[in-house]
Symmetry: C2
């Protein structure tokens, strides 16, 4: 399959997920939105679940790219953790598909973000761990991801995190101490 | 309402949630299981959602009591955090209702444990914070709860946490550093 067909399918699925939600979206809808034959869609994604996972993975990779680009210029590991937490909350809250599904169809998106989140967690962990200079980089990376995801899944909190400054001061106090002393390289 | 009627309702609802799941359970089922008139159940819980929340809160309070009793004899804050994490994973994984619902009806229990978890988080946070001798005890307590809950919600992990010893060594390395230097009293 040419890459532009794959992109068209993922774009169409994204638009469908946004407008119709996960439950109502069909593979036919995706084919129609993409202007492709059904068989073309099915050749690439045998099941709707695979297609949804591919859309979520693409969004995750886009997020991770924006995250890395924002953190690269920052001088210290502590700065990166602090800003990284603020950026994560901001990007996640402003993500139209994620916030829309959490508001309108929580029962179908929550399993993806919890019990079935293994593949997404693995991608994020691997990428974040590359920047951590410690023997247990994967465990430290996973901890940061779990904490950030927790604030997405459980918005109620005793901790004020309504804006970037709140998020930064929370991260300085509670997340920077998780950093191995060797730091992020 | 006499307390024994309340207990009977909650016991009946617990048994119904365990056997029928959240979705299929009706208030009539609960009344029948409790051997009480429907009106008696409705007088106490106007909606099924209120009853389910009351059952979950009772389980949470039972868990918190077992947790406190297990930690009280431990000498240092670090020991309490280490053992507390191991106990939490063990009790949660062995909880028949929680593990049953996560396995069989994730779409109905997950919202309770995430988007609607505010009331449960508040109860746990308040109790745990009482033992933390730091000005931001609530925030520290909430962090511990969020991390433990994350391993319930997202079981896939790069971190081996299959038994108590795994959980303890993870907690010593990654959770004890979250403790304010003043410690748990």
């Amino acid at each position: 399959m040419r890459d532009d067909s794959l992109d068209r399918i993922l774009d169409a699925a994204y638009a469908g997920m946004l407008e119709q939600g996960l439950r109502r979206l069909t593979m036919d809808d995706v084919a129609r939105r993409a202007g492709l034959a059904r068989v073309t869609v099915y050749r690439r994604f045998a099941r709707k679940g695979d297609l949804i996972q591919a859309v979520i993975l693409r969004e995750l990779k886009r997020f991770l790219k924006a995250f890395e680009q924002a953190l690269a210029p920052l001088p210290t590991p502590a700065d990166q953790v602090t800003e990284g937490f603020a950026i994560t909350l901001r990007l996640v809250r402003g993500h139209p598909l994620l916030s829309g599904l959490l508001a309108n169809e929580p029962e179908t998106i929550l399993p993806q973000l919890t019990l079935e989140a293994g593949p997404y967690l693995a991608v994020a962990r691997e990428q974040l761990a590359e920047h951590l200079d410690t023997p247990d980089a994967e465990a430290v990376a996973e901890m940061f991801i779990r904490i950030a995801l927790s604030f997405v899944l459980i918005p109620d909190s005793a901790i004020p995190l309504g804006n970037d400054d709140d998020a930064r001061s929370y991260a300085r106090r509670h997340l920077v101490p998780l950093l191995p002393s060797e730091g992020i390289n």
